[in-house]
């Protein structure tokens, strides 16, 4: 019987996870597992409700990306009201939704890079925990920290202008959108007083990329080798192969870049993707049916999207994309810390798209909604900040929701996160019987790159902190460490 290390952020009503690391008698890593508690009960919560309520209700799933759930649900209901599968909306309907979505990607990625990633980059995985946070970043680079806060605020302003209220946003409705952008909001977002305008946001994103490149050139070991393992990648891409975060066909490539899922219509996703239940985890493990449970797993999110897309349809992001692809000589990039680079490219692309859409007259006028022959089933997919998000609904003759199936980005990334933890554990914990702050940090950095959505949106006070437990060969607790 081996020894067991447990990293245990057992907090909150649900959500969070824990890491268990099993050592053999020689102190070698025998097995690592990341346990995440998936949300439960939502399907029952929404069952029986009129289908048109879904885009509002699903925002309750996540306090960080309610817009992604809002839009994925709306896209599924477009199919049900006969408005097509993401391409049948009016120009105004689609463009307003895209504007909302790019605002969401912009603010969410910004939060991740400036709030979570930059401390790791500035101070490293083994850095002083007292400095490894945004406060440390601020003290080290105040300009970067202030820009992070204001970029987040800008993204939220885009969402507010398109979706409405923070809590009960109602922008997207089945078949379209419920309003135009006002000319005042357009002017504010496009040409607002410094620094709150889109040109400044693009400038700051480029500056953040330069920060990353400078750091990368001086810390190649961390960025290139911290967590690297072969993985397939899956995402939506536009039909011509361009990066498209709002709509497209579903594509997957393997670790060598070979296409293993050939641009399928996502209405039929269930023919190609299945979810495995494992006894030790509350969260399912999705996989490509054709490849089977063992090898069919895949990564979603910014890095995966860079691997599946052939180009980016905005000029500044495309230039950075070419640099990104050149780094691996065109092959898929599976260096986990390059997720931050990919995220910055997507922030840039989103900012360029926001600018393009703000200059489009269709957002100020035009038909908002379109409907056609009603169907009883619809699937909506979107590239949420953390990766591909699936919403699938069936309704009955009374217009009530009869079935819901959601595959959220974090579920899609379940196996890759386990792989990342395993890689890092083998690197920093092998032969160790005492948990150090550095070990905890290293595992956290690996998980943080994916920014898992841990069944969020409950935030009651009185929770426990992150915790690591170390067990000996007899399963006796010999060390315990909690994060600060």
């Amino acid at each position: 019987m081996g020894q067991k290390l447990t990293i245990d952020p057992v907090t909150r009503v649900e959500g969070h996870g824990k890491v268990t690391i099993h050592l053999d008698n020689d102190g070698n890593i025998e097995q690592t597992r990341l346990h995440i508690v998936e949300f439960r009960g939502f399907e029952r919560f929404i069952q029986g409700r009129p289908y048109w309520e879904a885009p509002v209700l699903v925002q309750r799933l996540c306090g960080i990306c309610p817009v992604s759930h809002h839009l994925a649900a709306a896209k599924a209901l477009d199919v049900i009201v006969g408005a097509g599968t993401g391409e049948g909306l009016t120009p105004t309907g689609e463009k307003m939704r895209r504007l909302m979505h790019y605002g969401q990607i912009f603010q969410s990625h910004t939060f991740h890079f400036f709030h979570l990633a930059s401390p790791d980059l500035l101070f490293g995985a083994d850095g002083d925990p007292l400095k490894r946070n945004i406060i440390g970043v601020t003290l080290e680079n105040k300009e970067l920290a202030v820009q992070g806060v204001l970029m987040r605020k800008y993204g939220q302003e885009v969402i507010k202008a398109t979706a409405g209220k923070k809590i009960h946003g109602t922008g997207a409705i089945p078949g379209g959108i419920n309003k135009h952008l006002t000319s005042e909001d357009k002017e504010y977002l496009l040409n607002g007083l410094e620094p709150m305008n889109i040109n400044k946001m693009i400038d700051w994103t480029q500056a953040a990329l330069e920060f990353f490149h400078d750091y990368h050139s001086q810390n190649k070991e961390l960025i290139d080798n911290f967590s690297v393992f072969p993985s397939s990648s899956l995402s939506l891409v536009r039909k011509d192969g361009a990066l498209d975060l709002y709509h497209g066909v579903l594509r997957a490539v393997d670790a060598d870049g070979k296409i293993i899922l050939h641009d399928i219509d996502y209405q039929e996703y269930h023919k190609y993707i299945d979810e495995e239940v494992r006894t030790w985890s509350y969260m399912k493990f999705p996989y490509l049916k054709e490849l089977g449970k063992k090898t069919g797993w895949y990564t979603v999110g910014p890095l995966a999207r860079m691997n599946t897309a052939e180009f980016i349809d905005t000029p500044i992001a495309q230039k950075e994309f070419e640099r990104f692809k050149a780094y691996t000589k065109g092959k898929p990039n599976n260096m986990s810390m390059h997720m931050h680079w990919a995220r910055l490219i997507e922030i840039l692309h989103s900012a360029e798209m926001i600018k393009q859409l703000l200059n489009d007259p269709d957002i100020l006028e035009g038909e908002l909604v379109i409907k056609g022959q009603k169907l009883l089933e619809g699937v909506g997919l979107i590239e949420a900040p953390r990766g591909t998000l699936f919403h699938h609904y069936k309704i009955n003759e009374n217009d009530q929701i009869a079935m819901t199936n959601l595959i959220v980005s974090t579920t899609n990334n379940n196996q890759p996160m386990n792989e990342a933890v395993n890689f890092v554990a083998n690197k920093v914990m092998k032969g160790k019987l005492k948990i150090t702050e550095g070990m905890l940090n290293a595992v956290e950095v690996a998980i943080r790159a994916y920014d898992p959505c841990l069944s969020c949106a409950t935030h009651a006070l009185g929770q426990m902190p992150l915790e690591i437990s170390l067990y000996d060969v007899n399963n006796k607790l010999i060390d315990l460490k909690r994060s600060r």
Binding site: R60, V146, A457
Partner: protein, 152 residues
Amino acid sequence: MAKAKKILVFGYGNPGRQDDGLGIFLSERIDNWIKKENLNSVKVDYNYQLNIEDAHEIADKDIVIFIDASKEEIDDYALTKVKPSDKLEFTSHFVSPSYLLNLCNVIYSKTPVVYLLHVKGYKWKFLEEMTEDAKNNMNKAYDFLKDFILNS
């Protein structure tokens, strides 16, 4: 006459998770009361959770009162003063009032007086209706908060 203090009441939580919505529902009630009383120096906001840009929102306030549901061992509600903290989480899904206060101090060199109103909750499933006990706690906290704002 002394200038009225700028106050922000900010509730957070999920109204679709039973008592987790306490912060939101109490904020909405306070908002209605403030409008009725024409308390122009008091602003109310709410969201699913706190975010880093909220540091910007609190920077120009004299007093900030965050409201959240609580699982702590309290009877009904409790008001505590928030101290700054630089604790980093491993996902972007958690930002605490103390973290925001610290961020506000460091970035903007501003130090509003920040309180956290803990309101006891009991159940957290995917349901929109709060428990009766939570509603009672919210009513008590509502009366307390009105007095607190008027006397601040």
